[in-house]
């Protein structure tokens, strides 16, 4: 509560289940209502599109439509739509008006060209590029001596690569925050314009956002008078491989001009689960449950054999047991470390006739893709949403426009766009098509023309083709549109997802799959201390998802070393 009334820079360190998103939403709503006067607004940077969509949905219940006075999106989205697209043409940064995102092929070609120009050695250019990428993400401010000081060859390699992309009018994903940083650093008027529009910058999951965002924050908030409101939890930092670094968040909390607020209460899980989770993390935290809350339950399922057998146990005994205890199917989740493990669980549930939905990167609807989510929402509208305005057409339209154009468009253009969109959606109401057939039409009648006129260089247009392939009737993957839209008879579906993708979500019951000696941590996880730390934090994230019951499934006598610590902590009082 103190946090949402804070008027200076503020960092909220929020443990699992402490109401982080709720705090963030309330602070944004309060700022928009009381502190920031129209036409100014607030910006919120999240670590994934999924989080952005979740936040937008919450803000909508307070009557705050995204796009107008509230920007919600990833750091890449922020860099692109708030800095590059409006201002790149005003400054000499080397981008043509119609720049676009390079494809994978174009990127590897540029890496080869750059390697030959800058290094011309004997290694595999792509292998060298992996090191270059790390440097590129870390040394955001190239005016500092570290840029050429630590590894001049890599620096030249990176510069050659970028100029090769620029020569073709292309940018890559990492370019977005880097170029935005450069523009902000070199042009005070751009910083001023960002501050004018968004006097407060909210950052969600700060620990996962990496160096580029951190540098942007330092520049905008501690250099140009924007106010920072960041939330995060170092323990849940699981994107070390993507350049994220929990220390950056820790660093902020030691600044004199930042107020740090720690949320210690876990409103989600029972006390026993909270205690177990600290075992899972392997470090001490003073988190507490709320008094009077039920203790929660932990069950251990040692299984005699390997992963297949463990999946079968989940399908044949654990899920039915949970259902018998009156857990709703959509309040049950099966979590695993890697998506291929998800395939095994999916197979087992399918043969047991248990409906499920995958929300990991293998999911039919990729939760991290705005286009994918729009297609799903369109299906919801077509299969009944039109009747009760859930979702509203206005929201679908504004999402589609921001996907295609990346910003506001003129009224006549919007009219025309809306007419085409409505012709398709309206024509699909009451359709007998299967998901695959409907997706094919969606692709032909909407995606193709959108793609042709798209001004938003960020879009992942291929997800629709992917969805069509993943519902191929020839291999028995097609399903009824109602089912695809999540409108199924009965009580819902069990969620299958990776520990990573489960971040930020919660369920009544969570089944952790494959908590085996060589799977968690895996051999790959043990290759470096960073990887091992990331793996352990993933496990911690998984363990802190359930409200009432946590089930751990593993091979008898071959359990993960972390289970022992967990079991021990569980009974400490």
């Amino acid at each position: 509560m103190a946090a949402i009334r804070e008027l200076g820079h503020c960092v909220v360190l929020a443990g699992p289940g402490s109401g982080k998103t709720k705090t963030l939403t309330s602070a944004m709503v309060r700022a928009l209502r009381d502190d920031v006067l129209d036409p100014r607004g607030v910006a919120c940077i999240t670590y994934s599109n999924e989080c952005a969509i979740e936040l937008e949905t919450r803000l909508q219940t307070f009557g705050i439509a995204p796009g107008d006075r509230a920007f919600v999106g990833t750091v890449h989205g922020f860099a692109l739509s708030q800095i590059l697209m409006p201002y790149a043409r005003c400054v000499p940064i080397g981008l043509p008006q119609n720049f676009r995102l390079a494809t994978k092929t174009e990127i590897s070609a540029a890496v080869v060209v750059a390697y030959n120009n800058a290094i011309n050695g004997r290694d595999d250019p792509q292998d060298r590029w992996k090191f270059a990428t790390t440097k590129r993400k870390r040394d955001v401010d190239r005016s500092r001596p570290e840029w050429y000081g630590t590894n001049v060859e890599l620096a030249k390699f990176i510069e050659a690569y970028e100029s090769e992309l620029r020569r073709q009018g292309l940018i890559d994903y990492d370019d977005m925050p880097l170029m935005a940083f450069r523009m902000l650093k070199e042009h005070g008027w751009i910083r001023e314009a960002i501050r004018a529009r968004y006097p407060i910058l909210f950052v969600d999951e700060y620990q996962d956002l990496g160096h580029a965002l951190h540098e942007l924050v330092l520049l905008l908030c501690f250099g140009s008078g924007m106010r920072l409101f960041a939330v995060g939890d170092v323990d849940q930092s699981i994107y070390g491989f993507a350049g994220a670094n929990g220390d950056l968040l820790e660093g902020l909390t030691t600044r004199g001009d930042v107020r740090t607020i720690r949320l210690r209460f876990n409103y989600r899980s029972g006390a026993k689960i909270i205690r177990a989770s600290l075992g899972a993390l392997g470090e001490h935290r003073d988190y507490q449950g709320i008094t009077g809350a039920p203790d929660g339950e932990l069950s251990f399922f040692p299984v005699p054999y390997g992963l297949d057998y463990q999946a079968e146990t989940i399908a044949s005994s654990i899920v039915p047991r949970l259902l018998a205890k009156n857990f709703a199917p959509d309040e049950i989740a099966v979590l695993y470390r890697d998506r291929w493990q998800g395939d095994r669980v999916a197979e087992a549930l399918k043969s047991a006739n248990i409906p499920f939905v995958r929300t990991d990167p293998q999911a039919l609807v990729r939760r991290n893709s705005r286009l994918s989510r729009l297609i799903e929402a369109s299906a919801r509208w077509v299969t009944g949403g039109w009747r009760d305005a859930d979702p509203t057409y206005a929201r679908l339209l504004s999402q589609a426009i921001s996907l295609v154009f990346g910003r506001r468009i003129s009224e006549p253009l919007e009219q025309q766009f809306s007419t085409n969109f409505m012709v398709f959606l309206g024509g699909s109401v009451g359709t007998n098509e299967s998901t695959n057939a409907w997706l094919r039409r969606y692709s032909k009648e909407l995606i193709e023309p959108w793609r042709a006129t798209a001004r938003n260089p960020e879009q992942d247009w291929d997800v629709c083709a992917e969805m069509i392939a993943n519902t191929d009737p020839a291999v028995g993957l097609d399903l009824a549109l109602r089912y695809f839209a999540g409108r199924i008879e009965g009580a819902g579906r069990v969620t299958l997802t990776t520990m990573h993708s489960a971040k930020g979500r919660e369920f009544d019951a969570v089944i952790m799959y494959g908590v085996n000696a060589h799977d968690l941590p895996s051999r790959r996880d043990q290759q470096s201390p960073t990887a091992l730390r990331d793996a352990r934090r993933s496990f911690y994230v998984g363990v802190t998802r359930p409200r009432k019951e946590l089930c751990l499934v593993y091979q008898e006598h071959h359990h993960s070393p972390w289970i022992a610590e967990l079991a021990q902590k569980m009974n400490d009082v």
Binding site: L37, D38, P39, R40, G41, P86, Y87, R89, C90, V91, H187, W189, E192, A193, R195, A196, R197, P199, F405, R407, R408, I409, S410, E411, P412, L413, E414, R455
Partner: protein, 591 residues
């Protein structure tokens, strides 16, 4: 924030104009030159009350060429600068920065042939309008920008009483609503009760009651069954509606505003409008207000124009600006010079001359503004100008012109006395206004062989080239000028409008035989005292004329009377040759 440029293409009187602006705008020009069209052009972009139906123009709105070019769009672009000191304005305008200068935002209105119309444009339905910013059509301007940076056109100055009288349109409305909201409802009820009591008393008078009943009966008779229960009241007794009856009174409450003189009602209206703007900013409904007043001179007498507009122009509120259209010299005289836009026509199209970017120093600007104020802005309305050094020239040039067969007044040529030799700011002004002009000045030779007149003219010419953005002169020619003697130099510059005299003006007059005697005739007829009469006699007999004494006598008679008297003898008053040529130079270019 500040409006910095207005560009119009292919619209009504305007073929293609780009007008630099400097905050406030004073649009001067003759009737039917297109002042209101220019205002309307701005409304197309900024007026929140203008419906889309009005933004959809008609074919008759295309520039009146023969034949009109419907394939080229009608375009209005407004550029705005200095907006990023106010975060709210920055937030509104930052998307519309121009690629070439990010400190400038541009808003554009375009009316053009629809892309899907194959043949030539036949009706206005074949065209569409778009509003966008930053020169990029994909950056549409949301309605919010128009609500928050809004233009208010007070063409209703013609009907100030009407505006003040109607509750819906009165600028008083929001202010009163706010004030009344702060009053305790109990107190309002008290007032309401007192009014009800007064009304009851009123109704006890038999005359009123009879009238009321008669009227009700008449209404009922017409309406049939439905009795609307018409009553004669001071004000509605419903406490919430009560305050709508509050009105402005003048003269200690004796008379309503509608009985005030036209001027006072208008001043009240402008003041209320400004109060309304301030209220809207307080309520955060608006961030910038642009108040347009059309031809206030029709409704305000000159003293009021002067005092009202001096105050308005002096107001340095960064959140509002003023656009005034006028052909009143009184108003032009008090307008800040840089805000002045002069609309003129070249017979096919209207063009504009703006003083926003006039390259003068702060001191020069002051001088010019004082000069314009003192001369009732005559220069701004002239069609040509002759620049002279002093009072004598100013008095005598119109007479010389008459003797050459021209009435400067009738042609619209003004003689501008710069009181010295600092012609530069004045010439810059004339060049910026595109006025034909000539300069009459002395060669002023120095003992060292140089001549002040040469440097003077070369400086002026450099300014002229700068203001008119003309091609520079070759260094060789420049050197040639710098080395030229009096004859060579004055011959070279005669074709450019500078006319030099190798002595001083007064000596020239006295040395011109045709002039000397008529002048002495007029002076002698004045019946001066013996000293002056003696002097006149001496001058007539051949003693050189004393210029100082001559001018003192002229001053006593008054320039106007002297001109009138001399004019009668115009036939014989041929001026010195260089003066004749200077007059002819401007006359030829004006007619």
């Amino acid at each position: 924030m500040r409006l910095s440029k207005l560009s119009v293409r292919n619209f009504r009187n305007f073929k293609a104009i780009d007008i630099p602006l400097s905050g406030n705008v004073v649009l001067l020009g003759e009737n039917a030159i297109g002042k209101s069209n220019l205002l309307f052009a701005i409304q197309l972009i900024l007026d929140p009350m203008l419906p889309d139906a009005a933004r959809q123009l008609r074919l008759s709105d295309f520039f009146d060429a023969n034949p009109p070019n419907y394939d080229q769009p009608i375009e209005v672009s407004l550029e705005i600068s200095d907006f990023d000191t106010d975060p709210a304005l920055n937030a509104l305008l930052t998307d519309f920065r121009t690629p070439t200068d990010p400190m400038v935002a541009r808003l554009t209105y375009l009316y053009r042939k629809k892309a899907d119309v194959a043949g030539p444009v036949r009706t206005s339905e074949d065209c569409e309008f778009v509003l966008y910013g930053g020169g990029d059509e994909s950056r549409g301007i949301p309605g919010k920008v128009r609500r928050r940076i809004a233009i208010d056109v007070l063409d209703a100055l013609r009907d100030a009483e009407g505006q003040l009288g109607s509750w819906r349109s009165s600028p008083l409305r929001h202010l009163l609503e706010e004030a009344v909201a702060a009053i305790d409802p109990v107190d309002i009820s008290k007032v309401s009760a007192e009014l009800a009591a007064a009304t009851t008393t009123l109704e006890t008078f038999p005359a009123i009651r009879t009238l009321e009943n008669a009227l009700r009966a008449d209404i009922l008779h017409l309406a049939g069954k439905a009795d609307i229960d018409a009553r004669l009241r001071f004000a509605p007794t419903d406490p919430l509606r009560l305050f709508r009856a509050i009105a402005m009174f003048i003269d200690g409450g004796k008379r309503g505003i509608s009985e005030a003189s036209l001027g006072s009602a208008n001043v009240a209206l402008i003041a209320l409008k400004l109060a309304e703007f301030a209220w809207r900013r307080r309520k955060n409904e608006r961030n910038f207000s642009l108040l347009c007043i059309e031809e206030p001179e029709a409704h305000l007498h000159p003293q009021l124009q002067r005092s009202v507009f001096k105050k308005l122009f002096d107001n340095n509120d960064a959140t509002q600006a003023l656009i005034v259209t006028s052909h009143s010299p009184t108003l032009a005289a008090v307008a800040p010079l840089r805000s002045i836009i002069l609309l003129k026509t070249d017979r096919t199209s209207t063009y504009a001359r703006s003083l926003a970017d006039l390259p003068v120093t702060a001191d020069e600007l002051d001088d010019l503004e004082h000069y314009l104020d003192a001369t009732r802005a005559e220069l701004l309305f002239a069609r040509g100008v002759i620049f002279v050094e002093g009072d004598a020239e100013e008095a005598l040039f119109p007479i010389f012109a008459k003797s050459l067969g021209h009435s400067l007044d009738d042609i619209g040529i003004t003689v501008c006395n710069v009181a010295g030799t600092n012609f530069r700011p004045y010439v810059k002004l004339a060049a910026a206004l595109n006025l034909p002009f000539s300069i009459v000045t002395d060669w002023d030779p120095q003992v060292d062989g140089s001549a002040l007149g040469r440097k003077r003219i070369l400086d002026i010419y450099r300014d002229y080239l700068q203001v008119t953005r003309a091609a520079p002169v070759s260094p060789a020619l420049w050197q040639q000028w710098e080395a030229a003697d009096f004859t060579g130099f004055s011959n070279a510059f005669a074709s450019l409008g500078a006319f030099l005299n190798d002595h001083t003006f007064e000596v020239s007059i006295a040395n011109t035989p045709t002039l000397k005697n008529p002048l002495l005739d007029v002076l002698e007829a004045q019946g001066f005292g013996s000293t002056r009469t003696g002097r006149l006699k001496a001058w007539r007999s051949g003693i050189p004329v004393d210029a100082v004494q001559l001018l003192a006598m002229i001053a006593d008679i008054g320039k106007g009377r002297l001109s009138a008297k001399l004019a009668k003898k115009a036939g014989g008053l041929a001026p010195p040759d260089y003066i004749a040529r200077a007059i002819k130079f401007v006359v030829d270019r004006v007619q």
